[in-house]
C-alpha cells in the first residue's frame, strides 16, 4: 500500500511536470541563472548566531522538461558574534583570558533539482532541492591571533521561491526565495564545538 502511494505520487509529479500549463508559451529558454544576495540566520548553534546579510547565492540550471530543471549551485555566507572578556579553560592546566569575535564561514555547493509549479507570464513559483557538499570555517578572532578550524560535510537545502518577470519577453526577472540549509560539518575551536549546521534565510536577486 505504501509502495503504491509512493509510485502514485511519483507518477502524479511526472504528469504535473510534463503537462502543458496555461502559460507554457512563455517558456522560451531552457537555461536559467540566479545571482542573489543572501540573508542567513544560524539556528542550531550559539557560537556565531547573529543573522547577517554577508552572503551570496549563485545557481544555474537547465530545463530538461518544461517544469523540471537540473543544475548546480554555489553560495557562501558569514555570520559573526562578539563575545566579551572571559577566561577559557583550554586544558587541565592552561587558561586564556580574552574577548573574541566569533565568525562562521559557510560555502555550500552541489547539484539541484528545480520544479516550477507554474510558469506564468510574470510569476514563476518553484520548489528546489539542493544536495552537495559544504566547506565550513569556524573562527575565533582575538586581538593578536585567530584560532580556526575547517571542515567538510554533506549539505542539503530545500528552497521555495518565486521569480517575477516584469518584462516576460526579456526573461530578466527578480528572484525571491526562502531556504533551509542543513550541513553535517563538525568543528571545534578553543573550547567551542559545533556538530552540524542548520540555517534559515532568504535570497533576493536577479534571474535571467
Amino acid at each position: 500500500m505504501k509502495k503504491l502511494s509512493v509510485i502514485t505520487c511519483a507518477i502524479t509529479l511526472c504528469i504535473a511536470a510534463l503537462s502543458p500549463l496555461r502559460s507554457d508559451a512563455q517558456w522560451i529558454k531552457p537555461m536559467y541563472f540566479n545571482v542573489d544576495w543572501q540573508f542567513n540566520a544560524p539556528v542550531s548553534n550559539d557560537y556565531a548566531d547573529v543573522a547577517s546579510g554577508w552572503g551570496m547565492n549563485f545557481e544555474t540550471g537547465y530545463y530538461v522538461i518544461p517544469h523540471l530543471a537540473v543544475g548546480v549551485y554555489f553560495s557562501y555566507h558569514t555570520n559573526h558574534k562578539y563575545v566579551g572578556e572571559q577566561v577559557l579553560q583550554l586544558s587541565n592546566t592552561s587558561s586564556l583570558y580574552t574577548d573574541q569575535q566569533h565568525s562562521i564561514f559557510q560555502m555550500p555547493f552541489g547539484a539541484l533539482l528545480k520544479y516550477s509549479i507554474v510558469k506564468g507570464k510574470h510569476w514563476e513559483p518553484y520548489l528546489t532541492m539542493k544536495v552537495g557538499a559544504m566547506y565550513a570555517q569556524m573562527n575565533s578572532y582575538t586581538q593578536v591571533v585567530k584560532f580556526y578550524d575547517n571542515s567538510w560535510g554533506f549539505n542539503m537545502q530545500p528552497e521555495a521561491g518565486v521569480t517575477f518577470y516584469p518584462m516576460p519577453h526579456k526573461r530578466c526577472g527578480i528572484h525571491l526565495a526562502i531556504y533551509y540549509n542543513f550541513s553535517s560539518n563538525k568543528n571545534k575551536t578553543l573550547t567551542y564545538d559545533i556538530d552540524c549546521y542548520n540555517n534559515i534565510g532568504f535570497h533576493l536577486g536577479v534571474a535571467f
Partner: protein, 216 residues
C-alpha cells in the same frame, strides 16, 4: 550562456567571499595566557626570588634590560612581588637557595618563537638572547622538563612573558631547571609604548586565573 559568464564573474569579484568581523569591536584589553606543570605542587615551596630588572627581548644577541631604577621595572616587578607575597611566598635575595624564581621578559621588537618538543628539547629560540639558567644557578645550563607535551607559540611584539622556575627542584643530573608556570600577556602597548596600566592589569589577571599558585 556566454553572456551570463561575465555577469557571474563580476558578481563573484565584487563580493569577497568571506567577510571578516569588525576587529575594532575587540576591546583594547589584554590577552592573558597561563599554563603550569600539573605535577608541580606549589605548596611545597615557601620562598621566591625575583630579579630587579626586566629582560628586553629584541633582535640583539646581547642582553638588554629595563634597569632596576626604571619606573616601569619598579611597577612591574613590584606587582609580581606583591602577588607572590599575597599567595604566601616569602621573598629572598638568595637566588641559588630560593625555592622559586620569577623571571620577566618584555618582547619589544622581535617576533619570538617559543617551542618545546621532546624531539627538539630547545625551549627558546628565534631570537638572540634569553634568561640563562646560570642566572639562578651557575652550575645549570638548560630549561626543562616542561609541561609534558610538545608546545609551540609565536609571541608577537609588545607582549610580556613571565615564568616561575622551581630552583628547589633543579635536576642535578641533567643540570636543568624546571619551569613550572608561564604567563603570556599581549595587548600591553598603546601608542607604540608599553602601557603600564594594562601591563599591571595583565599581571593581576594572570595570577587571578592561576589559583593553584599558593604556598601552604
Amino acid at each position: 550562456m556566454k553572456k551570463a559568464i561575465p555577469f557571474f564573474l563580476v558578481a563573484l569579484t565584487l563580493t569577497a567571499c568571506e567577510k571578516e568581523p569588525n576587529l575594532n569591536q575587540l576591546s583594547s584589553d589584554l590577552i592573558v595566557y597561563t599554563d603550569y606543570d600539573q605535577k608541580c605542587d606549589f605548596g611545597n615551596y615557601a620562598t621566591f626570588a625575583i630579579p630587579d630588572s626586566i629582560l628586553v627581548l629584541s633582535n640583539s644577541s646581547k642582553p638588554i634590560y629595563y634597569s632596576a631604577d626604571d619606573p616601569r621595572t619598579i611597577a612591574i616587578i613590584g606587582a609580581f612581588t606583591s602577588e607572590m607575597e599575597q599567595r604566601g611566598f616569602v621573598q629572598t635575595d638568595d637566588t641559588q637557595n630560593a625555592d622559586l624564581g620569577v623571571q620577566v621578559s618584555y618582547v619589544k621588537n622581535t617576533n619570538t618563537i617559543v617551542s618545546y618538543a621532546t624531539s627538539n628539547p630547545y625551549w627558546w629560540y628565534g631570537y638572540g638572547y634569553y634568561w640563562p639558567c646560570s642566572y639562578w644557578n651557575p652550575y645549570y645550563w638548560g630549561w626543562g622538563p616542561y609541561y609534558g607535551y610538545p608546545i609551540t607559540y609565536s609571541y608577537t611584539v609588545g607582549s610580556l612573558i613571565a615564568e616561575i622556575v622551581a630552583i628547589k627542584d633543579a635536576d642535578a643530573t641533567t643540570k636543568k631547571l624546571p619551569v613550572v608556570w608561564t604567563a603570556y600577556m599581549a595587548g600591553i602597548m598603546s601608542s607604540n609604548q608599553l602601557d603600564l596600566t594594562r601591563t599591571l592589569s595583565g599581571i593581576y589577571q594572570a595570577f587571578e586565573q592561576s589559583p593553584y599558585i599558593a604556598a601552604q
